[in-house]
């Protein structure tokens, strides 16, 4: 029985790279990863890709307002996805809006990840009173819905991209902290950490060189899914009018911008930004799920 398990384990290790490649070539992984690359690529090269600069007042003309998709604008350009109430090209606005959305989501996720990592490692490594104090804070935070905390924070902080990033980071750090702590506690009781303590290495060195690299892997999947989550929260906040300012719209503020026109039948102003948002969030979510399958050694077949 024991031999069987061991031989099975060795077999898995030998074929590890093959299996990972095999898993990466599953259709769902390829499609979601491809979509994700295209989306990020579009956001990065936005100024070159967008047909017009939607925030250049010299180009935007009120005469072009509320054109339906495919109509040509006053200056002869075709507005493939129509124009909004102020005559801005919806396609260009989406590409620029995507940029804002991604910047906010990724930077807030990174900040939250860093805070969560530090808190989780300290909590898991030292245990005791520090641990119970930090985890009660995490418990309190996680018992409230993220959207509510973000809303209240923004009511206190006011508007602005930087403030949205801060609010989203504060909303998210707790979940990272809890995950890291769980991994850190498991690692902390293993022999190599005890050996390191016996060698008289400083706590900081042990945490930094040994605990951190070994507790970070569960965060990869979490960070992916959380980024999708923070894109939706940011969009929701911007839709409610408490998120990013109107001068630098994200996908959420574009959707909210079109809200005023839906009853007059100008569906494209809301529909297309929303579709983009859905595609982005769904691509990240599916990719995150695939990543979980790839990284989990128990799900091999």
């Amino acid at each position: 029985m024991n031999d069987k398990v061991i031989s099975k384990k060795n077999g898995v290790q030998n074929n590890n790279s093959k299996i990972i490649i095999k898993k990466f070539t599953r259709p769902a992984t390829i499609i979601s990863l491809g979509l994700l690359f295209i989306i990020i690529f579009c956001a990065v090269i936005a100024p070159f890709l967008a047909p017009t600069n939607p925030y250049d007042l010299k180009v935007v003309s009120i005469l072009d307002s509320r054109l339906s998709p495919g109509d040509s604008m006053f200056n002869g350009n075709v507005a493939w996805l129509g124009t909004d109430g102020a005559g801005r090209d919806v396609l260009s606005a989406i590409i620029y809006g995507l940029r804002t959305s991604l910047i906010v989501a990724i930077s807030s996720a990174l900040i939250a990840l860093t805070i969560g990592l530090i808190v989780g490692l300290i909590s898991g490594f030292y245990g005791g009173k520090i641990d119970s104090f930090l985890m009660r804070v995490v418990d309190i935070q996680l018992s409230f819905p993220a959207i509510l905390i973000a809303l209240v924070l923004l009511a206190l902080l006011g508007k602005g991209i930087d403030k949205v990033i801060i609010a989203l980071a504060i909303v998210q750090w707790a979940i990272y902290a809890r995950t890291v702590r769980a991994a850190a506690i498991v690692e902390r009781n293993k022999e190599y950490i005890q050996a390191a303590s016996c060698l008289g290495l400083s706590d900081f060195f042990i945490i930094w060189k040994h605990l951190l690299p070994n507790s970070i892997s569960p965060l990869i999947v979490l960070a992916t899914l959380q980024t999708a989550h923070s894109i939706s929260i940011e969009a929701t906040l911007s839709f409610l009018g408490v998120g990013v300012p109107i001068t630098e719209p994200s996908l959420g503020s574009l959707i909210s911008n079109g809200f005023d026109f839906i009853l007059s039948g100008a569906y494209w102003i809301t529909f297309f930004p929303g579709l983009m948002l859905l595609a982005t969030v769904a691509a990240i979510n599916i990719f995150g799920d695939q990543l979980r399958i790839i990284l989990n050694p128990r799900v091999n077949n």
């Binding site: 819905p145 009018g241 529909f271």
Partner: protein
């Protein structure tokens, strides 16, 4: 802390008013005094249950919140019921037939359901059902009926028509979760010996599902949903804004945008209290529904 964002006086008076006028308004609301004096006054009021008057409405903030709460409660309750009625059968189906095409469609749909932005879906629902088809009203609560002294949209046809879209919109967010919970529960319970035993006794599958499976998977679902009820109330902010539902969420969003501080503070207190009560109810319910928890507690 809330005092540092903007000046509410700017929102209250006409920008063209004279400086003397502006000063008078500032004095009336006590905003000319230093922050610590304002805070002390607020604390004095809060202890006696007075959280201050709304700047915009000129009435006690707590009264306004309690007045708007039934509308939100109605919306959230309906959403919860829709989520259970739709999600539970789909989840049980997926759990009973893990490899069928139907299950793949349901699970794929639930991933989409998590990814889709709720507020955008609400707007799309308005476009389809109100603008294009013209079936359902766009906004408001509709006509309200009174039954047993409670005023609610549930008791009139017009009110129900107004309720369908917002409640469905709010429910979609939870349906995916109910499906996942129900599926996981079904898969687990179906493997237990007592289910095999009912099969051996030759009971019809319908009876097994409704009498032996359902009670066992309902416990975790109900407890999770009770906690999630708070999330529904928080998320109602979004739905209420889209469908102009005159509830708590719409009130607080308007208060945040108009810098109406007393309402924001009162809302915060109200929601925190609500969450505490909900969590307490969940803990008690858990002990009532699952005797094992009770026994554990007594040993400790």
């Amino acid at each position: 802390m809330i005092n540092f964002v903007g000046d509410p006086v700017d929102m209250l008076v006409n920008p063209e008013s004279l400086p003397e006028e502006i000063d008078r308004v500032r004095k009336d609301f006590g905003l000319d005094q230093p922050v610590h004096v304002q805070y002390w006054k607020f604390l004095q009021g809060a202890v006696t249950g007075n959280l201050g008057n709304s700047f915009i409405f000129g009435r006690p903030a707590l009264a306004l919140i309690i007045e708007r709460f039934p509308a939100t409660l109605e919306l959230a309750t309906c959403a919860l019921i829709i989520a259970i009625v739709v999600g539970l059968p789909l989840g049980i189906f997926a759990g009973l037939n893990p490899n069928s095409i139907g299950t793949r469609i349901i699970m794929g749909g639930s991933v989409l359901g998590i990814s889709i932005p709720t507020f955008w879906l609400g707007l799309m629902m308005i476009i389809v059902f109100s603008v294009i088809l013209g079936w359902l009203p766009v906004s408001g609560r509709g006509e309200m009926g009174t039954f047993l002294g409670i005023q609610s949209s549930l008791f009139t046809l017009d009110g129900l028509l107004h309720l369908i879209m917002p409640a469905t919109n709010l429910a979609l967010f939870k349906i995916a979760m109910v499906i996942r919970l129900a599926r996981a529960g079904t898969e687990e319970v179906m493997g237990f010996d007592f289910i095999k035993f009912t099969r051996a006794r030759g009971l019809p599958p319908k009876r097994i599902v409704s009498f032996h499976l359902l009670p066992n998977i309902l416990i975790p679902i109900i407890t999770v949903l009770a906690i999630e009820f708070g999330t529904l109330i928080a998320f109602a902010t979004v739905t209420e804004t889209i469908f102009a539902w005159p509830g708590l969420g719409k009130l607080v969003i308007e208060a945040i945008i108009n810098l109406d501080r007393p309402i924001v503070v009162a809302y915060l207190m109200f929601v925190v209290t609500l969450f505490l009560i909900l969590n307490l109810i969940v803990d008690i319910m858990y002990a009532v529904l699952d005797p094992r928890v009770r026994i554990k507690g007594e040993i400790q």
